[in-house]
Symmetry: C2
Subunit: 205 residues, 2 copies
Amino acid sequence: MTRRGLLFVLSSPSGAGKSTLSKMLLAADGAISLSVSATTRPPRPGEVDGKDYHFVSVERFEAMVDNGDFFEWAHVFGNRYGTPRLAVEALLAQGSDVLFDIDWQGAQQLHHAAGADVARVFILPPSIAELEHRLRARGTDSDAVITARMERARAEISHWSEYDYVLINADVEACFAQVRTVLNAERLRLARQLGMTEFTRGLMG
Amino acid sequence: MTRRGLLFVLSSPSGAGKSTLSKMLLAADGAISLSVSATTRPPRPGEVDGKDYHFVSVERFEAMVDNGDFFEWAHVFGNRYGTPRLAVEALLAQGSDVLFDIDWQGAQQLHHAAGADVARVFILPPSIAELEHRLRARGTDSDAVITARMERARAEISHWSEYDYVLINADVEACFAQVRTVLNAERLRLARQLGMTEFTRGLMG
């Protein structure tokens, strides 16, 4: 028996640091790999197909849904997002943990599908005002877009209590250390230690 | 609303390093305090009343049981051990986390009494042979005493799957780092973060 892989979920409202923290984690920790979602939304500048997302047509996405290819999928603001099942299973089979940079809908479905193998972390901004300040400081979005983003942020934050851990991202380095602490502790949970050594395998009888 | 304190349980068979790890943790982490158990067994050389244990008579212990003074208590190999309720509640009220250096019976009762506020860590030796080697290396015990200790160790180890985390103590510094990781991650759990900042207090409505 080999170690059971861990499904590690990071969610946050846009602007609270989830994507930055995910990239830092993937760079720092060789034992976890990103689950690349499929989406019907068009790529943003700089996004790479197969790395950031699998960009697919609506028709292709629907065929994958019909085929049972998704671990979880959801409509989010007019686009579809889904987690390809085979890719996750392949990573777990290699003994890798899997990182999910997904929203509350995905986290909820993943939790229902995989239960105790999922650890869910929600990243909060220090305050709503600070979140808005960060979005405005990017200088890329109009007032209308920022208003819409803040609405989405409030909706995302309303699901914070469905998570196992809650981190407050006031300082990205400090928050990143907390992300790593949570991941490393989750790796020490009983269910993930069962096959770790000859001794523990022996204890299982 | 203030932060909810955490009841942090370390259990292991004798010789697997629980007491060493407990002392290291209390020295390194100012936010956790030891729950000092009451016991009817006589002090061993070097043990200090009120620091290692509260040493009490059988009559006094029974009066405390009748009085409901214990969070949990148990008979262990002819002696009684119990966790005084008021002392734990006083530590929690001060905002401290509380460390319990107790056996599987105590851990089980504490879990039933305090549920989600308890995080239980079991320390395993690398193997049964290594545990016996460590007990013999102390050079203080006769063969008969070591045989009895090994019997007790096997009984304790049989309860390892009732814990939340399992650590293997092959190297005490590495195992200590894991103990700290688990404690720090448990502090980041949702239920313990509710009162942490003005923002999270606001989210609670």
